[in-house]
């Protein structure tokens, strides 16, 4: 199977995330940047599919120079090839532009399955996967907690996580699959993987290479715009449940209210 997985470099999960006040884009310069944790699940699922059915995994990212590290991590984990769409004109792209640009890179790869994770930990929009499927003109199977492929039959079946359980959803190849973190346990790269990654093909593309119209790229062509931003308000005080013999029931009610149980 020809599998494509999208990856993104994001500020370290534990770092304080800020916007660059000059252009209201994510500040990536003052923090450590890592492969989006959710994407590790996507890469792992892509590798598991490859291990089960053969084929090839291509990791694709869009981002500044340093973002190539996210692709490299995917290569170290075991992906076969990498594509890095890197162009200053793409800086400040919104979700629609990002999805459209990624589609331009991914479509020529003719994937059977495109794996995306449910969100990146920086913007947390959670829409690029869905938009990408639209731009690619492919069906999308989202919130997958389990993926089973049947390349012979040309289908993929997923268990789609719902609030109360899961739904079994079947889709025809080629397809975009969005995975959640319950799906697997991402592997750590081995030293062999780290060494091998150096020799794997990694292509850097400009916007022109990908056929992206320069006029549509960047903030000027964006469909959305960030006008202003406020720092996250300080954490509000929690709710104290006083136990008057019914503490357990109150706690359960609270958790049920928050849809945690």
């Amino acid at each position: 199977m020809n599998i494509v997985v999208t990856v993104k470099q994001v500020p370290d999960t534990w770092a304080e995330k800020k916007l660059d006040p000059s252009d209201m884009t994510t500040d990536r310069a003052t923090v450590d940047n890592v492969l989006n944790e959710m994407d590790e699940y996507g890469v792992e699922e892509a590798l598991l599919l490859k291990e089960a059915h053969g084929g090839e995994v291509t990791a694709v990212t869009m981002g500044p120079d340093k973002a190539v590290e996210a692709v490299r991590k995917a290569l170290q984990m075991g992906a076969d090839k990498g594509v890095h769409l890197c162009d200053a004109s793409l800086h400040g792209s919104d979700a629609l532009q990002t999805a459209s640009a990624l589609a331009k890179v991914i479509a020529p790869l003719n994937p059977d399955v495109v794996i995306v994770s449910s969100e990146a930990s920086d913007a947390r929009g959670g829409v690029v996967g869905a938009l990408l499927a639209e731009y690619l003109g492919l069906p999308q199977l989202t919130l997958a907690r389990k993926v089973t492929a049947d390349p012979g039959g040309g289908t993929v079946t997923i268990e789609r996580q719902t609030d109360n359980g899961y739904a079994t959803v079947l889709g025809k190849l080629p397809v975009v699959v969005g995975v959640i973190e319950k799906i697997n346990e991402p592997r750590y790269p081995s030293f062999k993987g780290i060494m091998a990654a150096k020799k794997k093909p990694l292509v850097t593309m400009t916007a022109a290479d990908a056929g992206i119209d320069p006029g549509s790229a960047g903030p000027s062509g964006a469909y959305s715009e960030v006008d202003e931003a406020q720092p996250r308000p300080p954490k509000a005080a929690g709710q104290v449940v006083k136990d008057e013999g019914d503490g357990g029931a109150k706690l359960a009610a609270f958790l049920a209210d928050q849809k945690l149980v």
């Binding site: 750590y188 081995s190 030293f191 780290i194």
Partner: protein, 383 residues
């Protein structure tokens, strides 16, 4: 000029193990320290990452890295949990390395892939109840009888011999008398479990609780003659050369522990307040932590330098002894200071510094005591 910057691959490996240590190793450290249970699941994942194969070529299931790569991994694991770090150190440098260095092609093919994948563990039985550093005191004997070695004796403080995945013990034994009546000592491979071979229950130790340490006994334990490892009579000499490089790995372990103490203290000194401000603002605390940083830094450079010499094929005995000695004493010093900085919490087992404190002491004893290291250094100086 010298450059101790890690290469891109070394740094990636270090970061990967650091991440693994933080996410997987550290969270189980307290529980396995309390229970003394061997961390099978952690070891399984380490095997998957190829850590047990780091310094071995791919043809034996290794990762094609080198001994320094192994040291980097050991250091990062020891920042979180010394029991896990020593399991890797002993598994590689005592379990698999003697086979790789001295084994026949057939022995290597038979045993190494299992050991380098981490699916199974090997152990080395050298120390005996009556002596470790003194080769002449070896009492375990092996005699040839009908094409078999018959081994009798016992070994003390042996790591990785009694786990569910232990598959091999290399044992040193007196196999005859050489020139001038000196004992001829050879190494023999004993697949385990094996009739005539028994492991004691686990020792009750001060630290390294989750590491598997046992006393071994051999009673009419018979293995085929071809299980001899290396040349007859070279058992002790071979093992000494293994110990030289093992010292660099133990040094890395000490650096990891020293760094782990430092990590804990820096965070704690910023967060813990007394008299209305963080305790790190007190020089009494800050200077202690500065000293901890200095020791960890120098100790790290010492093992980097020893490893660099070793990998360049130059003599490194003295540098390895210095690295091992300085790192282990730094680990003990940092652990002592860290528990002091943590105050009452430093005496509570659920705090990592308390565990580091208990785990540190053995570093001044195992794989050559501090006294032996000083003796080696002095000898290298012609004294």
């Amino acid at each position: 000029m010298l450059d101790f910057q890690l290469s891109e691959e070394q740094e990636t490996l270090r970061k990967t193990v650091e991440e693994f240590a933080r996410e997987v190793v550290a969270p189980q450290a307290f529980a396995s320290d309390e229970s003394g249970e061997f961390p099978y699941e952690v070891v399984r994942q380490m095997g998957g990452m190829g850590l047990f194969g780091l310094p071995f070529p791919e043809e034996y299931g290794g990762m094609g890295g080198d001994y320094f790569a192994l040291c980097l991994a050991i250091e990062e694991l020891a920042r979180a949990d010394s029991s896990v770090a020593i399991t890797l150190e002993a598994g590689v440098s005592l379990g698999a390395m003697p086979l790789y260095r001295f084994g026949s092609e057939e022995q290597k093919r038979e045993w190494l892939p299992r050991l380098t994948s981490g699916q199974a563990l090997g152990a080395f039985g050298l120390t005996e109840p009556d002596g470790g550093s003194d080769a002449g005191a070896t009492r375990t004997r092996a005699r040839l009888e009908d094409g078999e070695w018959v081994i009798d004796g016992s070994k003390s403080f042996i790591t990785n011999a009694g786990t569910d995945i232990s598959c091999l013990v290399t044992v040193t034994a007196v196999t005859g008398l050489g020139v001038g009546g000196r004992k001829e000592i050879s190494s023999i491979l004993v697949p385990v479990p094996h009739s005539g071979f028994r492991v004691s229950k686990k020792y009750s130790k001060v630290g390294w609780h989750a590491s598997d340490t046992r006393e071994l006994s051999f009673e009419d334990c018979r293995v085929p003659e071809e299980n001899l490892l290396g040349e007859p009579g070279r058992g002790y000499a071979n093992f000494l050369s293994i110990l030289d490089e093992g010292r660099i790995a133990i040094s890395a372990l000490g650096v990891g522990l020293a760094q782990g103490c430092l990590d804990e203290c820096v965070a704690y000194a910023k967060e813990r307040e007394a008299f209305g401000y963080p305790i790190g603002r007190n020089q009494g605390i800050a200077f202690k932590i500065a000293d901890m940083e200095m020791r960890a830094h120098i100790a790290r450079l010492a093992y980097y330098a020893a490893a660099a010499k070793m990998l360049a094929g130059r003599p490194f005995k003295k540098e390895a002894a210095i690295a091992k000695l300085y790192s282990s004493e730094s680990a003990v010093d940092n652990a002592r200071d860290a528990t002091q900085i943590f105050g009452g919490y430093g005496f509570m087992n659920e705090y990592a510094v308390a565990r580091h404190w208990r785990d540190a002491k053995v570093l001044e004893i195992g794989e050559g005591t501090s006294e032996v290291q000083r003796m080696l250094i002095a000898r290298e100086l012609g004294l």
